[in-house]
Symmetry: C2
Subunit: 419 residues, 2 copies
């Protein structure tokens, strides 16, 4: 079974590519390396020392055997090359990660708002148009987000998997209708995933494309069995204010002795999934695609929910690192409840990796090992949702004069995990 | 009051610009003349002899007095110039027509699908991002479409104005929620307007932008009081298979003796509005904007609904021209009912221009006057919704050898309206 992984060099795309290759799929990565280039512009880098894509693929071949092919292609702008590649490879499945994926980055500036919309919408639409154009009946698995639903909208009802049954009052009595869950995105990034949903619905209806939309929670963890095989296969670890995800940031902050950055009260409840489950879910999705003519299948790719403050306390209690309450750069409710249905993946065989102290330690150890690569000036989130919203100053000074590899600032403590 | 009209050279944009100028608004048109350029590519032209935008504006100055300014700008790609213009003009209101507006054209080819999405989404998003960027608090009136709702979704209930009250079952009892009407677009073009809605909702919520979305029906008619003042001000009249709207096509076909092209059974019920009401609605909308913090205001810009077959019969009976049932190039229900609420515009003072024989005659006279400019090879709709769907051949041959201005084909009859 031949699979294209669009965005296969990114945080979720890379471990997914390795996992699918390990499981016997014939994998080709399409990626324009935009994630690495954004790092260049943000003057930040993965905490872990990721190698160049060519080195990654050579290492995989050396360590594991199978060849993963790579095409450097901008999905949003290089439509004709996409057509040529589809015709050459005729994939059975396409995993679509090729979107700008950070909410803070999408709110950072007019340029990043526009990039997020222009890139994400065109990437998705080019893919859909190209499949119709070539007549290739590949199953699409797209990485969506729990953020399309918003928070606190449906009271005590858990968030369903994509579709909501509602009653519509009419003069002829109430009609029962199953609708796409109303969109309540919290950032330009999340908004683009709600736009994707409408494009998927149209192309499934009009052209019979077979699409699964994976509404993923916040990913934590770094390594999978495959990325851990060799240091040259290591996955990204983002800790900066734009791309770092909340739990990984806490673990990294604990590792370098930086106060844990809680925005607002920390009363926000969020859905989570470990990166090792992400890659399994993707395989489940492409192995169980909808049929032509079906509406898009929506699967909530989450395994548990937690209040941000509870996670901060857990990490703080384990490591002894203090918690810093910082202004919230987002426009959002201070607190929310969250219950999510994830029946489909459980029924299809997912055995969730639960948040446990052992796993937290594993991530903290990764963070500690590469703590010398951290730039504490990049930790504070400075992308605000509206101009003029306050943001914090650096909590740890950065010793620009220190020699390479000895960037541990004076106030650092607890660089070794205490768990 | 200073108004920017984005897309002010088009079928709705031009008469709106003149109307607003006539009503005392200080009007600037932003347009990249894309509609004229698409005509070049389609090898077709307006039935009416529209003059160049410069001639249009000079004539308006000469005939009426006020100056309308013009900027040739591509809203989807020239963001920095848009910022400069917004800062210079600081408009009070912005009318946004600057989108590819034909459903058949949007389904014509992979290139036109992509153009429609890339242009429409980026144009709208650039505008929203630019208003946030500059802090200019202009009221936006955007031309949406009735097609966002789809047809036949809500049973006997008339289509509400944008928002639908539904009941959501929860463990704690039923919740009543007012949601954006579920999107049921019938083409890539209509899909882009459903994407616009989600972008409007986000920017209204996050940034307090004041947005009115005008869900317009199918426009008929050509002239308004202003465009009729001088032939050099004449409005476009599209009759081709991609851009011609159904009633205007029937009237033009009657004028040149072409069979009336009904696709499928003609059982489709559609919403209509006369171009003279379009321009009034736009002024009403920019005079009654929502407040900052309000959700987007949605107004159904329609005055009546008709079954396509009934319109064909009306025109056929009046003019003696036969009806041709052609294959339907669209993926849609053969028949549907349609009831639409338009309470807001009626409450705000719109006095609808009803479809009447007098008005039909007026349009037919315009068509008859310029019948010699018609190319009968451009009448049949050949853009199909799925590859391989059948479409009709030309019903009237085109005499390529005839001399200029004498293109009336042999089989033409009834070039004068018989009403």
């Amino acid at each position: 079974m031949r699979v294209l992984v669009l965005g296969g060099d990114g945080f979720c795309g890379w471990p997914t590519s390795l996992y699918l290759s390990d499981r016997g799929y014939d994998v080709t990565i399409l990626d324009n390396l935009s994630r690495r280039k954004i790092d260049v512009n943000l003057e930040v880098g993965s905490l872990t020392p990721i190698t160049a894509i060519g080195d990654r693929l050579r290492t995989w071949r050396e360590v594991s055997g199978p060849l993963i092919d790579f095409v450097n292609l901008d999905l949003a702008t290089e439509y004709d090359r996409l057509i040529a590649i589809l015709r050459e490879l005729r994939p059975d499945a396409i995993v679509h990660f090729a979107e700008q994926r950070a909410a803070p980055y999408s709110m950072r500036s007019p340029a990043t708002k526009r990039y997020t919309v222009d890139n994400n919408v065109r990437a998705t639409h080019n893919l859909l148009a190209a499949l119709v154009h070539t007549g290739i009946d590949a199953a699409i698995a797209h990485l969506g987000t729990m953020g399309v639903y918003g928070y606190g909208w449906s009271g005590t009802a858990p968030i369903p998997e994509g579709y909501l049954t509602v009653k519509v009052p009419t003069p002829g009595g109430e009609l029962e209708r199953e609708i796409l869950h109303p969109a309540n995105p919290g950032s330009v990034y999340h908004m683009t995933k709600t736009l994707d949903q409408l494009m998927f619905a149209f192309y499934a209806k009009n052209d019979g494309l077979r699409i699964t939309d994976l509404h993923q929670g916040i990913v934590w963890g770094t390594q999978t069995d495959q990325t851990a095989l060799d240091e040259r296969l290591i996955n990204r670890f983002d800790y900066d204010g734009d791309y770092g995800t909340v739990l990984n940031r806490f673990l990294m902050q604990a590792a370098i002795g930086h106060p844990l950055t809680v925005h607002g009260t920390g009363g926000q409840t969020r859905a989570f999934i470990h990166i090792a489950d992400t890659v399994r879910c993707v395989e489940i999705a492409i192995s169980h695609p909808p049929r032509a003519g079906d509406r898009p299948m929506v699967l909530n790719q989450v395994t548990e929910t937690h209040r941000v403050m509870d996670l901060a306390k857990l990490v703080g209690d384990t490591t002894g690192v203090e918690i810093a309450h910082l202004p919230n750069p987002r426009v959002e409710a201070e607190e929310n409840e969250l219950a999510v249905r994830n029946d489909h993946f459980l029924a299809l065989g997912l055995r969730p990796t639960r948040l446990s102290e052992g796993l937290l330690t594993e991530v903290t150890e990764v963070a500690a090992r590469y703590a010398h690569r951290a730039d504490p000036r990049k930790i504070i989130s400075r992308s605000v949702w509206r101009a003029g919203m306050p943001c914090a100053s650096d909590l740890i000074p950065f010793p620009l004069q220190s020699s390479p590899g000895v960037t541990t600032p004076r106030t650092l403590r607890g660089a070794e995990p205490r768990a």
